[in-house]
Amino acid sequence: MSEPVKNTLLFVLVGGLILLTGFMQSWNSAVLILNMGLISAIMAIGVNLQWGFAGLFNVGVMGFVALGGLAVVLISTTPTPGAWSAGGFGIVLALLLGAATVTAAVMIAQKMSKGRARTISLIAVLVLGFFVFRAVMDPNVAAVEAINPAAAGNIGGLSLPVLLAWPAGGLLAAGAAWLIGKTALGLRSDYLAIATLGIAEIIIAVLKNEDWLARGVKNVIGLPRPVPYEIDLQNDPGFVESAASLGLDPVTASTLYVKLGYSVLFLVVLLVLLWMAQMALKSPWGRMMRAIRDNEVAAEAMGKDVTRRHLQIFVLGSAICGIAGAMMTTLDGQLTPGTYQPLRFTFLIWVMVIVGGSGNNFGAVLGAMLIWFLWVQVEPIGLWLMQVITAGMPDGSALRAHLIDSAAHMRLLTMGVVLLLVLRFSPRGLIPER
């Protein structure tokens, strides 16, 4: 079987699995799997860019995804009345002061010669800057958070169209990635992993605790949507009529319509990004990246600036994760910092890339769709399996109850097994790099 035929068959298989969900369970859950699968595919393209093209080990995907979500709040919600005059500008001033402190510290570290004088002035600048920052920041934060804390208490957004938040999420993630890359790239691969793991936790901590930014764990709900609301569709006689002509009741038809609307939007973004990634892979730039990945020393000897190229691709890949994060928050209609977990948002994406085939964009997309399907469906399958296994046990047995309760945790187990099996028996993934 030739290469393209095999790959097409793999994609058809995943499509078939989703269709099967539609026939066996409900079309609603099938489209839900499709939507999150598309978003996961975009995240996987981002990670594949970093790992597959350049060999960068980024385990901070969760942080960039969350930053994308933050962008949705900052771009699309309405500004809280009075928040900017009460403390918004003060907060911006404080943040600028903080940035100035860090810049000054970096300048000192670079310009002054090594020695005690440098250490002392470095510490002095940092300590002084920190206290000035806190002195300006704290009262302004308190002022903003005091405004109607039950419903707002944050500075709100710019009330721009929500679709603008997607590129903005990418920019925000790119900015963060640039900062991280500037400090952590050029270190060994394990160190980059630990550094990104840490930065992701910090981003989540900031989102959870800085209530003035996006209400922290109080969550922002009811974000604007790029697609119509179900209730409006149900009240639209034209829509009800066309739904009836398809043999659907208006409620089901409207939910499907909305979800499919999202699917189309996501598919467009995915195709654009996939096309761009594919072009990048084929271009001289992509070949250079792979050359750097395969032999850094040789690439450097050929005059390639390895650190700069790494920074470039790290920023690009993180930006793609940010875009996906913004899309996900738009789909959810809410930003809930408490739900970001590294196993789900970092390591699962890694499983997708490895299983699909690192270094191959189509592989990443396929892996994402397949693994997302498994992630969703393992739970009902596990429950069914447990019921079969425990069928022989007496009713009311504690072990039986425990086994059936624990079926939900089969997911992590399955993902680990899938990852290890692929790494062992097909380390290049389902669609290997060409």
Binding site: A193, G198, E201, A205, L343, V351, D405, L412
Partner: protein, 336 residues
């Protein structure tokens, strides 16, 4: 008097908790650093190995409690610890045989092993959640305090109380014993010496007839014992929750790297550095300063540098500083 009060308040809220936390981190970091030194990869599954060991300890404690065996004032978990260590050793030996050995024979790149350890992490995490569930489990029993705040006040007549939890005392004692045993093993026994030789220079060690599989096996056994001890102590001191162990991964790695990856002494120092910085930076200093400063200068706010929610940020920033200025860590670690 004010000075004494300030010192007692400082001990109560900063020194004692930081020493206990530092011991737990040090034990965890020792495991990471040993794996790095001998098997040459960063083991992402370490946090979940700790959780697995602690889980067996929790189950064994419940079993011991149900048959009425206990240690009186000491927590029953200490009796359960050897059982848990054996269980955890079994787990790591099985994972090594089924998973890691294949890649060792292939001489796979370290980063591949890191990804493999991610898979192991998923499986161990899933196993723990499968057996004991994702919720909080309390398994500490026995006396709660060595010294309670009230007793201390009565004893000394000071305004401030000093409370030392039994679990904090046990943490330090057990950690000291574990570290002493480890260093005795590494420095005095034949196997320990061959482990150090293997870590220093693999080829030379192989030439002098050291059996690598044996070294690797002993490493895993020691790592399992250390991880279980760290996990049980942390669970006793705080509480057992599978997800928390995953989050400990960051401070543990920070400790190991700050000290110098591959260097056991560095791991211990790193653990205490991280613990003390986390606690001092997130502690509200108002109480201590009120005693020390003259009345006119009394602080109005809490004098807390960072909220406790940012404790990860502290270990992270220290990690970054060390990586930028001294990439091999404070003690000389491996620079690959």
């Amino acid at each position: 008097m004010d000075f004494l009060n300030a010192f007692v308040a400082l001990s109560n809220f900063v020194l004692v908790p930081a020493i206990a936390y530092g011991s737990q981190l040090a034990l965890g970091a020792l495991g990471v650093t040993l794996i790095y030194g001998i098997l040459r990869f960063s083991n992402f599954a370490h946090g979940d190995t700790m959780a697995f060991g602690a889980m067996i300890a929790v189950l064994a404690t419940w079993w011991l409690q149900s048959i009425g065996v206990g240690l009186g004032p000491l927590p029953t978990a200490l009796l359960a610890l050897p059982i848990a260590i054996l269980g955890c050793m079994l787990l790591v030996l099985i994972t090594d045989r089924l998973v890691y050995r294949f890649y060792r024979e292939q001489k796979a790149k370290p980063v591949i092993l890191v990804i493999v350890s991610m898979g192991v992490m998923f499986i161990t995490n899933g196993l723990v959640r499968f057996v004991i569930g994702p919720d909080d489990q309390n398994f500490a029993d026995g006396e709660r305090f060595l010294i309670s705040a009230r007793d201390f006040k009565e004893m000394t007549g000071l305004e401030e109380g000093l409370a030392i939890k039994t679990t904090q005392g046990i943490t330090v004692v057990v950690a000291v014993i574990a570290v002493a045993l480890l260093f005795w093993f590494l420095n005095k026994t034949r196997t320990g010496k061959s482990m150090r030789a293997y870590s220093d220079n693999e080829d030379l060690a192989l030439l002098s007839g050291i059996n690598p599989e044996r070294v690797v096996m002993y490493t895993w056994l020691i790592v399992a014992a250390l991880a279980t001890t760290a996990g049980v102590l942390y669970g006793l001191d705080k509480s057992f929750k599978p997800f928390v162990y995953f989050q400990l991964l960051l401070p543990i790695f920070a400790s190991a790297i700050v000290g110098g990856l591959g260097n056991p002494l560095g791991a211990i120092a790193g653990g205490f550095i991280i613990a003390f910085s986390e606690v001092t930076i997130t502690y509200a200093w108002k109480k201590v300063l009120t005693y020390l400063a003259p009345e006119t200068l009394e602080p109005s706010g809490l004098v807390q540098l960072l909220s406790t929610d940012y404790k990860f940020a502290v270990s992270f920033v220290i990690l970054l500083i060390v990586l930028l200025f001294k990439p091999t860590g404070l003690f000389k670690g491996k620079a690959v």
